[in-house]
Amino acid sequence: MYRYDDYDRAIVTARVAQFRDQTRRFLAGTLPADEFRPLRLQNGLYVEKNGPMLRIAVPYGVLSAQQLRKLAAVTRRYDRGVGHFTTRHNLQLNWVKIEEVPDILAELAEVDMHAIQTSGNDIRNIVTDHFAGVADDELADTRPWAELLRQWSTLHPEFAYLPKKFKIGITAAREDRAAIRVNDVGLELRQDANGATGFRVFVGGGLGRTPLVGQAIRDFLPWPHLVTYLEAVLRVYNRYGRRDNTTKARIKILVKSLGAVEFARQVEEEWSHLKDGPATLTQAEVDRVAAHFAPPAYENLPAEDLCYVGFLREDAAFARWAARSVHAHKVPGYAAVTLSLKGLRAAPGDATAEQLEAAADIAEHFSFNEVRVSHEQNLVLPHVPLRELYTVWHLAKAVRLASPVTGLVGDIIACPGGDFCELANARSLNVVAELQERFENLHLQHEIGELDINISGCMNACGHHHIGHIGILGVDKHGAEFYQVALGGRQGHGLAFGEVVGPAFAADEVGDAVERIVGVYLEHRLGHERFIDTFDRIGLAPFRSAAYQQTEQEKIYA
């Protein structure tokens, strides 16, 4: 893990002092609310329905046990003891007081954490693969690159007032677990024929009102040029991105209107002046940062653990959990483990202070002190010896972190929606609760198999509804909550956006509709086909007709 040195610490500490002063002036009335707004957003502080919300950065989703404990303490002391992990692996506190936020930031700074640029029209927290460094399908660990970019983007003087927010995602694995092509810039680490490292650069991806898949503007950018090239991209965007209409201000609209070829040409032209300048990365710096991510002191273990195999055979509940929660690791005898934040009757991504502390304890004893946050809003223990899995399961179960539903219906991704968010058209947590109840039966969930359900409370798509196998979007119809359902979206390298099944459903219809859609799948699937495979084979039509059946009948009888 990256540890701050005196430089990093000085910068973050100064940011706390700066924000403390801004907050003081705001509360004293000398900094008007509309001027304070962009400033507080650049530090993750929103003012939402229930009051202020603070979004704490979890850079590239990596946390130490100590940091988790601090998050637990902060959640307990300044909030109501519950935090919410987002799809950009940050942590949101929904019940903070503005006057206490500087104190929260000061406490976070003690453990090398901050809330810098978790909102605002600036470069946001960089996302990457939650299995980075341990995945058996990765070319390289992306965390050093993410940290290099964290430092470059932190308090960047030229790009603090962009037309709109700017998101960067990095992946280096065969399976893209960071959804890089729905970021403003997606970086795919690759190697050229000589084994040199570089990046394929995608721009203009994004969800929201106009969902677009990022387009490649450079096939291979040698790593020393990563920062200068990104500066060129950002500069073209900062100068020419639209500022007249906030719904058209993302870089994707600029890329779309210029065309990827012309956009790339402008970037190359800008870059020709910056290339090989002082921002060119050095081997020494890459080595310095990479050293922080050196593998922990793994034991020499056999690839198979007999105790683990035995428990799998004897304990069906454990086996069911393991089937969903235990993931391949590049080191023999180890696994990465999902700690599910998708408990019954809990909002997806919500974690109590007790759960955070328990996760910290488990990580300390069984995962070299490290935890990851996934964009599916779960926690991940990146390095657990197979022989400890049974113990870890028991410990996780005791604090409700062991729902055996990862990747299944119960693993719903959802934004906080209308219960918390100012911008929402509809609630999302009511739909989560409804679906959890309908699919409460774990046998049924395992029978249904892999199925991503994503829910957003509005167009902004914080719940990534476009890339759910079943995507649900809250819409407003004459002041009532309605839900548009789309099918066939997916993340990963086969990234695709779902197709809308038809007219939106009322809040009390959406559960029935999803159940009928799942029913169509179960009826049509061949062998072990996943939902998404069946969808690809039979298309939208059978789902569409089934989804509305009941509703039509009801109309007849009404």
């Binding site: 430089y7 801004q22 430092q151 030229e158 962009l162 920062v227 990365l281």
Partner: protein, 172 residues
């Protein structure tokens, strides 16, 4: 006399900002005596006249750019200006930050580079980093209070105009 921040002090300032009121054109707007910051359109329309003012009356030349007016428009004349100013109608419009870096880093502009408009205490640290060296804070903002901005951060990660080397090239 109006105040500006320059050399990290609050100072009197003699420059007048010329703007085009409704109905006025670049060709017709009256140019008062004294040092003037003229809009780019006036500079273009009346370049000879402005240069003559400088030659014959010793009036220094200044021009100001709107957010969508890039520095490329001034390249041939950059050496003529005593002040180039960049207008920030709203501080959340960050185009002027790129304008400043380009002027300083690419086009070699060395004289005074001024930020004016909706800027103040909470923008000056970044503005200074990208190459502005004088600041006319917006109405209702306190120039003396804004001086504190220069010392806000003891270190920075990125290279920019104030410190061309990124931290990783300086890290001990």
């Amino acid at each position: 006399m109006p105040k500006i921040i320059k050399e990290r002090r609050v100072q009197d300032d003699a420059w007048k900002v010329v703007t085009l009121a409704a109905g006025e054109t670049a060709a017709s707007v009256r140019l008062p005596v004294g040092p003037l910051l003229v809009p780019l359109a006036v500079w273009r329309a009346r370049r000879a006249e402005l240069i003559a003012r400088e030659y014959e009356h010793g009036e220094p030349l200044g021009v100001w750019l709107a957010p969508d007016e890039g520095p490329e428009t001034l390249l041939d004349d950059l050496d003529d200006f005593t002040v180039v100013a960049v207008h920030f109608p709203k501080f959340a419009d960050g185009r002027g930050y790129s304008t400043a870096r380009l002027l300083r880093e690419r086009y070699g502009y060395r004289s005074e580079l001024r930020a004016f408009g909706d800027v103040g205490r909470d923008q000056i640290f970044y503005l200074n980093r990208v190459g502005f060296d004088s600041f006319m804070v917006g109405t209702g903002r306190d120039a003396t209070d804004a001086l504190a901005a220069f010392g806000e951060f003891p270190e920075v990660y990125q290279g920019a105009v104030d410190q061309p080397l990124p931290l990783f090239r300086r890290r001990a």
